[in-house]
Amino acid sequence: MTLALREMRRRPGRFAIATTILTLIAILLMFLGGLLDGLEASSTGAFRSQRADVLVYSGSSRNSLERSRIEPEVRRQVESVTGVTRVGGLGSVQLGGRVPGRGARDLVPTVLFGYELAPRGLPSTPPVVGTVYADDSLRSKNVEVGTTIRLGPARSMVTVVGFVSDTRYIGQGTLWGSLETWRQVLNANRPDARVGPGVVQALVVQGVSLERAGLPERIDRATDGATTTLTITQALNALPGVSQQRSVFNQIIGVTVVIAIVVVALFFALLTVERTALYGVLKAIGASSRTLFAGVVLQAVVVALVASLIGIVASLTLDALIPVGTIPFVATPTRLLSSAVVLVVAAVLGCTFSLRRVLRVDPAAAIGGTP
């Protein structure tokens, strides 16, 4: 093993090409992963921040918050279900926002949420009518505390009183106000979607921990099918484009991993061919095939670790340099470490293509003892 490490230390140039290519692959893997996480984060923040066990949509909503409407009567039925402890209304409306300092036609896409049960990072009592908390990402659109944003064709005015982080929804910055603020803005700007008093789009439900299993089914039974109840994960996956973009990105990541395996396999196969004579000598003086192959694997793992380390540093640098709200990229420890692990596993798999060649090295060849 020390032989393998010494070779890397004394002849770093031999491993430079493989390390460079694997570093580029590591950066690509981590960048793709970071983009996927960033896109998911920017689509799902509003739901992930909910302190809820389940979200209740109307039965005819086809799992869409925008299409869903929950009447007060249905809400009462949900509240009476065994195991349900707290129920809060949730409403949303997507509108272009006019922000002071930006051009008249330069609308900022926003989603105004009305809430009762405070998501993480928001005060438990919603702000007074006409005021909202804004998602951090809107800072890059000139939004500050005290900024009055005019929403939609009706120019409904809401004033920002604070910020909350990681609550973006389908790629747009969010504003969080009371249900009354939401109703007023919705009814003013979307006459076709007006809602009456007490009507909300969805219910945010918290349950007793022991009763959580089967809670969605119990709620839907209690409302006699007037609702469709989803766990937070199900609700995230039902958001438009989320599962599709995850699938596409994971396929690209998968192809990148296959490329990494091929690169390692080709590189170490070539290296093994070059070393045939040396391996013959080492076998002749008593090295086992296992020892020699372990050296190859160790070198591949070191190359993959160096590449991963550079990839991690590059990703963290990129994450720090990208202004909030521009490119949807986040470098999470989980993603970076899992990418490094995947790359190391790919390196080990790639090496296995050299195993047969190492096993076939004949020690007698070192002394010219085979015909």
Binding site: L3, K283, A284, I285, G286, I367, G368, P371
Partner: protein, 234 residues
């Protein structure tokens, strides 16, 4: 492990080959490389194995060193009967009981002279300090102390050959096999190396087989064995 518990022979022979036959199958043809060869080498004897190309001397050397298994016959090295050994046992046997000096020297190019000796320790169970002391002692005896930190590319042909001899002696073998040790050296350097081989072998009481084309080497051997068409014609 059989290899470790087997008792040493009482014959005092470093090598005893009895009825060795080696047949290679090339395509559909059978090539007899060795044909009923018998050879005994005493425990401190230096034998020059001479013969034309293709006569079977390298095959004989490979069988004696546990690099190849014979098709028929028995091989006993320092009292160990190795003809029935598995690949794994042969690997361990080579690590423990024999030394090799190859025709093209074949030092590990990215290791210093000292590290090339310690490779023998690294590929097997580590002996640590004892191995380092042994390497330093061998380098001193071979006049290479001041070259211990040099890479092979920084050594002359004779110095490389001396490092190779040191590597062959690292495991304190009963038998050292030299494959054309002077073929890459000029005549005066070759002569110097063969004298060194004789000195080192005799000083340690170690047996050696020197495969060679070079008749001058035979003067330094205790005995010369001729081989032709796979048969010893001593």
């Amino acid at each position: 492990m059989t290899l470790l518990t087997e008792s040493a022979s009482t014959t005092g022979h470093a090598l005893e080959l009895r009825g060795i036959t080696k047949i290679y199958t090339v395509a559909d043809d059978e090539v007899v490389a060795l044909d009923h060869v018998d050879l005994t080498v005493a425990s401190d004897e230096i034998v020059a194995l001479v013969g034309p190309s293709g006569s079977g001397k390298t095959t004989l050397c490979s069988i004696a060193g546990g690099l190849l298994s014979p098709t028929h016959g028995s091989v006993e090295v320092a009292g160990r009967e190795i003809s029935g050994y598995s690949e794994r046992q042969l690997t361990q046997f080579r690590r423990d009981a024999v030394g090799f000096v190859f025709q093209t020297v074949n030092l590990v190019p990215f290791l210093t002279a000292r590290e090339n000796l310690l490779v023998v320790d690294e590929v097997g169970p580590r002996r640590g300090r004892a191995a380092r002391d042994r390497a330093d002692q061998l380098l001193e005896e071979l006049g290479l102390t001041d070259r211990a930190a040099n890479l092979p590319a920084q050594l002359s042909g004779g110095q490389k050959q001396r490092v190779a001899i040191g590597r062959a002696l690292m495991n304190e073998p009963s038998l050292v096999l030299f494959d054309e040790p002077t073929s890459a050296l000029d005549s005066s350097l070759g002569d110097q190396v063969v004298r060194l081989i004789r000195h080192e072998m005799k000083a340690r009481g170690t047996a050696a087989i020197i495969v060679t084309h070079d008749d001058r080497i035979t003067h330094y051997a205790d005995r010369t064995v001729h081989i032709e068409d796979g048969r010893i014609t001593e």
